[in-house]
């Protein structure tokens, strides 16, 4: 029990420096072992709310159960489909490593790969001579065994290490320059290889926030718009006969339909949001609060379909973290942002 107590002491010392935590919380929450009294924790929870609330509050002895309703929610995520773009520094670093490798490896022997006077051999020789007799395709005119081999670093502003440039060079190199007769192909005879798919899809260009093939290098999250126009993650009250994860699954099926191949990552909620209850002057409840527990769900295939959903949602979006920040109410986003990946 040494490590947890040390951790709690460290946390308590951090809290001691902060002015907005009251003295009783500092001592009761951290210095006392958690298992000692559930009652104390309950008291602390009741106590914690007091400084922030302006409305009169029922005495702490009263049952707090009736003030909150428990809801189960789902955060449906689509994992990134593409790796991110490299930074210019990373590009330059990998480029430097490649040139360094040129100096350390033996020379390329094309006779080992291409039989003499075959089409691939002629093809190689044409391209090799065009590159200035450099075997590497994307490293520029760098002669690793030459007099200026030391001069391998790129200058500031050089575009040689750019990802797109390297891709274009490789695609250019992939086209066959020799006809089947073994002669050099004329420019109109060269068959170009099929272009690889673009990183930016049609959905990105049209900014279609309902499609799943947008923002391919980011994680997307499903948010729905309720009848009164507010955006949130799909959620519903937990009935007494369902567990949290069962209720979350039911919410997903009822809100977005069954035409999705999904996987619930775990039964433990990844985030929770507390909406405080509202009280009248005579300490009676005006509006009950909500405690929403979110389970994380991955979508593998399919698409959300809100037609005929029983939860009253009228629209859905697939948004990234930054877009969620603008779409969701502030406290709501702050409650869930820590479960979101950076990318």
């Amino acid at each position: 029990m040494a490590a947890p107590s040390r951790g709690s002491r460290a946390a308590a010392s951090i809290l001691r420096r902060q002015a907005n935590v009251c003295a009783s919380c500092r001592t009761t929450q951290f210095l006392r072992p958690y298992s000692a009294t559930a009652e104390a924790a309950q008291q602390a929870e009741a106590h914690r709310l007091k400084p922030h609330e302006k409305v009169p509050h029922p005495p702490a002895t009263a049952s707090r159960k009736a003030e909150y309703r428990i809801k189960a929610g789902v955060i449906v995520t689509r994992a990134p489909m593409l790796t991110r773009n490299l930074t210019p520094f990373e590009n330059a670093f990998f480029f430097y490593q490649k040139r360094l490798n040129e100096r350390l490896t033996p020379e390329f022997r094309h006779t080992l790969f291409f039989k003499e006077n075959t089409v691939p051999d002629l093809d190689w020789r044409i391209k090799f001579n065009e590159r200035g007799r450099v075997p590497a395709k994307e490293l520029g005119r760098y002669f690793a065994k030459g007099r200026n081999a030391w001069n391998d670093e790129l200058l500031v502003g050089s575009t040689l290490s750019d990802e797109n440039r390297i891709r274009e060079i490789l695609l250019k190199d992939a086209e066959s320059r020799v006809t089947e007769d073994g002669e050099e192909a004329k420019p109109d005879e060269i068959v170009k290889p099929e272009r690889p798919m673009d990183r930016i899809t049609e959905a990105d260009k049209a900014n279609d926030v309902r499609r799943l093939d947008r923002k391919m290098d980011r994680t997307l999250y499903l948010v729905v718009q309720s009848g009164n126009g507010t955006w949130s993650f799909p959620s519903d009250y937990v009935p007494t006969d369902q567990n949290l994860h069962q209720a979350a699954q039911r919410v997903l099926d009822q809100a977005a339909g069954v035409n999705m191949n999904t996987w619930m990552v775990g039964r433990v909620p990844v985030a929770h949001y507390v909406a405080e209850p509202q009280f009248n002057e005579d300490t009676t409840i005006k509006a009950r609060g909500e405690k929403v527990f979110f389970n994380k769900v991955r979508i593998m295939a399919g698409q959300a379909n809100l037609t005929g959903n029983t939860l009253g949602y009228k629209d859905f979006n697939w948004l990234t973290k930054e877009e969620l920040k603008e779409k969701l109410p502030g406290p709501y986003f702050r409650a869930v942002r820590n479960m979101m990946a950076t990318r």
Partner: protein, 183 residues
């Protein structure tokens, strides 16, 4: 390759004074005897491991996505025909990847036109109905005529003829009669 590299100066003497020395001195031995029992553990010249020349290659997966990798292959582009993007195991909900008959050239249709449908793989309905025969049902049908007949007898719903080679024989007989007519 290695011959071109300048040889490193091997200075055994200066290095040996720096390296950790183990002495097994005893009281009887003089200083000269101590000198001869020095162990020299100087680093020898370790040759750089020979690595193949590496190119940068663009790998294109079956769905069109690409990535670059370092490889000894001198080809600039590698196109993958089967990978995780078009395999059923990784795409369980993709209907186009399910085990369906691909007959672009019409060879299977031509085969059926000539030899009938009795060579087709058994329908899953047959395997469900009598589980005892399920193992046999998985095999190539028609290889074991007796078992197939037995199964057919069990399935009264099957409208096809009892004999799997029936239509084959009848077609052959029809051709024979045609030939005979021509003659």
């Amino acid at each position: 390759m290695a011959a071109r590299l300048p040889r490193r100066p091997t200075c055994a003497l200066s290095l040996s004074s720096l390296s950790p020395q183990t002495t097994t001195t005893t009281s009887q031995q003089g200083p000269s005897a101590v000198q001869s029992q020095f162990q020299t553990r100087n680093a020898r010249l370790i040759r750089r491991p020979r690595r193949p020349y590496l190119f940068t290659q663009l790998v294109q997966l079956s769905d069109g996505s690409t990535y670059t990798m370092r490889t000894a292959s001198p080809h600039a582009l590698y196109k993958s025909t089967k990978d995780t993007r078009n395999h059923v195991l990784w795409n369980p909900s993709e209907k186009s990847l399910k085990n369906v008959e691909v007959d672009e050239a019409g060879k299977l249709a031509a085969f059926r036109g000539r030899f009938g449908r009795s060579w087709d793989a058994p329908a899953p309905r047959v395997a469900e109905e009598d589980e005892g025969e399920a193992v046999d049902g998985g095999d190539v049908e028609g290889a074991d005529g007796k078992k197939k007949e037995k199964k057919k007898a069990v399935n009264s719903e099957e409208e096809e003829s009892d004999d799997p080679f029936g239509d084959l024989i009848s077609r052959y007989a029809m051709k024979e009669t045609e030939k005979g007519g021509k003659k």
